[in-house]
Amino acid sequence: MDALTLTQVTKKFGRTQVIDGIDLAVAPGEFCVFVGPSGCGKSTLLRMIAGLEDVTSGQIAIGGRQVTDLPPARREIAMVFQSYALYPHLSVRDNMGLALRQAGTPKAEVLASTDRAADMLSLTALLDRRPADLSGGQRQRVAIGRAIVRRPKLFLFDEPLSNLDAALRVATRIEIARLHRELGATMIYVTHDQVEAMTLAHKIVVLRAGRVEQVGAPMDLYNDPDNRFVAGFIGSPAMNFLDAGALGLRSDSLGVRPEHLAISAQGGTIPGRVSHLERLGGETLSYVQTEAHGLLTVRQFGEHDHAVDGPVWLTPDLERAFHFNAEGQRMRA
């Protein structure tokens, strides 16, 4: 039995089609990430699963039970919001326990659940504080704790790390991955950051304009994208798209990852000029302006040096390149 099933789910705001016929199945215990550029409908889809938005047509089932017309509280879900959304007038303990108390759980049980969740997130020392007295990272931990306490069938995360600074974001990302392993719960996670998607997900759903572009494990999407959009969206720095015609190939465009472009000062297939160099220690990124293909990114591992404005030649590794037709669809050999 799937933890979550979406069947031909659509959503219209007035005449605008926001979600356009999505089918999806998420297995129990799976960590599923919805990723896509802003305005692709990923947050709307999550809010529809939560029951905060009506479904225009289609069915949603959680744990095999039809929930399409149930209110959020009866869907056995918990949600973590980008803005934390803690109740400002309640202590951390009461914030975490509210849902259980609302459901009429005995006091002792509520207390035990909150204590256990606080322990998992090292919040025990903060239980009597108000949200206003906490830092951003602590607030987000409380918000996650509030979700854990309910022991939901489905965890929903709506860009939970976007309001945190870079260092805290990495730490909280690892924390969420650890929680997922410990709880073994099914989680749906929305983000626009493909690094979060790659690092957390078992299954990534790439969305664009209300449609699913591709569903798959992170490495499947990386190594075997279905179309130009997914190829360009997954992976950082983004894939280069070369004009295949100029290279004498039959496809429309050729996708080459930055690490699959060889750079040389002596000679190669594509002449260009180094316009900018980023040396990060572990890797070196060169941005090369070319006549036929525009600006291309080259990634080399380790420390390298190329003179800015100096002439260089690039050679794509055709074995590992991806061919796309004029519609942006992958042409598999």
């Binding site: 918990a78 949600m79 803005s83 959304a85 400002p88």
Partner: protein, 279 residues
């Protein structure tokens, strides 16, 4: 250094303007209060003089407290003001919540309709209101006044509160929904505490015109049992002779309750006015 001096000069100028404003605003109140404790002759001889041992006279207060049912008038004013205020805040906040929270057909049209009352004075409808009250048998009841004042206060309340409620985080309300709070619990337990400063602002702006109103008590409830304090004070103003001692004493007394209520709300009010300006 010159910057510091310039800002010093600017600060003095600003304070001078503000102090001047305070003096102008308080002057009529000050004159009323000092003259209310002077003898009739002294009031006319030198209205601006402070009361001295010679001119000190509490005859005004004696008259007011002895004559008529002054305590009853006070009570009427309090009942009408507090009841109207409570209804305006309750219904205003609920309407504002609906307008800001729910998407429904005609939402913005409804908002516009409810705000229209700010621009159209309710007194234009006096004749119709009187006819309605006569038809409903509500003439000479405090209920009539409470109904009219509730109607009068609602447009501004809805307008101000819906703006503030739009500012309450959607995520917070949604978190409440997921935690199983009803829409009423979300409104009363999450949203209302967050817009408390705005509620205080609305309360003050609603309360003062009601307390001071003479028009509707005179037309809808002029009976002895339902007179409000402003109407009650009018008995001392005659066509030919006015008992100035009593009028001034009555007015001085009428300031007190509204002052107390203002002080209760003012802490919240200041937070309401500066909301957004200071984070």
């Amino acid at each position: 250094m010159s910057v510091a001096r310039r800002s010093m000069a600017r600060s003095i100028a600003a304070h001078a303007v503000l102090i001047a404003y305070v003096l102008i605003a308080l002057f009529p109140v000050f004159v009323i209060v000092i003259n209310s404790v002077k003898s009739r002759r002294a009031i006319f001889a030198d209205p601006l003089a402070l009361p001295t041992a010679e001119t000190f006279d509490l005859v005004g207060y004696h008259t007011v407290l002895r004559q008529g049912d002054f305590l009853l008038y006070f009570q009427n004013s309090m009942i009408v003001t507090v009841a109207s205020l409570a209804l305006v805040l309750l219904f205003g906040a609920m309407a504002a919540f609906a307008l800001s929270e729910y998407r429904f057909w005609g939402n913005s049209l409804m908002g516009l309709y409810l705000a229209l009352g700010i621009m159209i004075p309710i007194r234009l409808g006096t004749v119709v209101i009187l006819q309605m009250m006569v038809a409903g048998g509500l003439v000479n009841t405090l209920t009539a006044l409470v109904l009219v004042y509730t109607a009068q206060g609602l447009p501004l309340a809805v307008f101000i509160l819906s703006e503030f409620m739009r500012g309450v985080s959607d995520d917070l309300k949604n978190a409440g929904r997921i935690d199983g709070l009803s829409e009423y619990a979300i409104f009363f337990r999450l949203v209302l505490p967050l817009v408390r400063p705005a509620m205080a602002t609305v309360a003050v702006f609603t309360m003062i015109p009601i307390w001071n109103d003479l028009w509707f008590p005179l037309i809808l409830a002029p009976s002895e049992a339902t007179k409000t304090i402003t109407l009650g004070s009018q008995v001392f103003i005659g066509q030919f002779v006015t008992n100035w001692n009593a009028v001034l004493a009555a007015l001085s007394l009428a300031i007190l309750p509204v002052l107390v209520m203002y002080l209760i709300f003012s802490r919240q009010l200041i937070r309401g006015i500066t909301a957004g300006a200071v984070k």
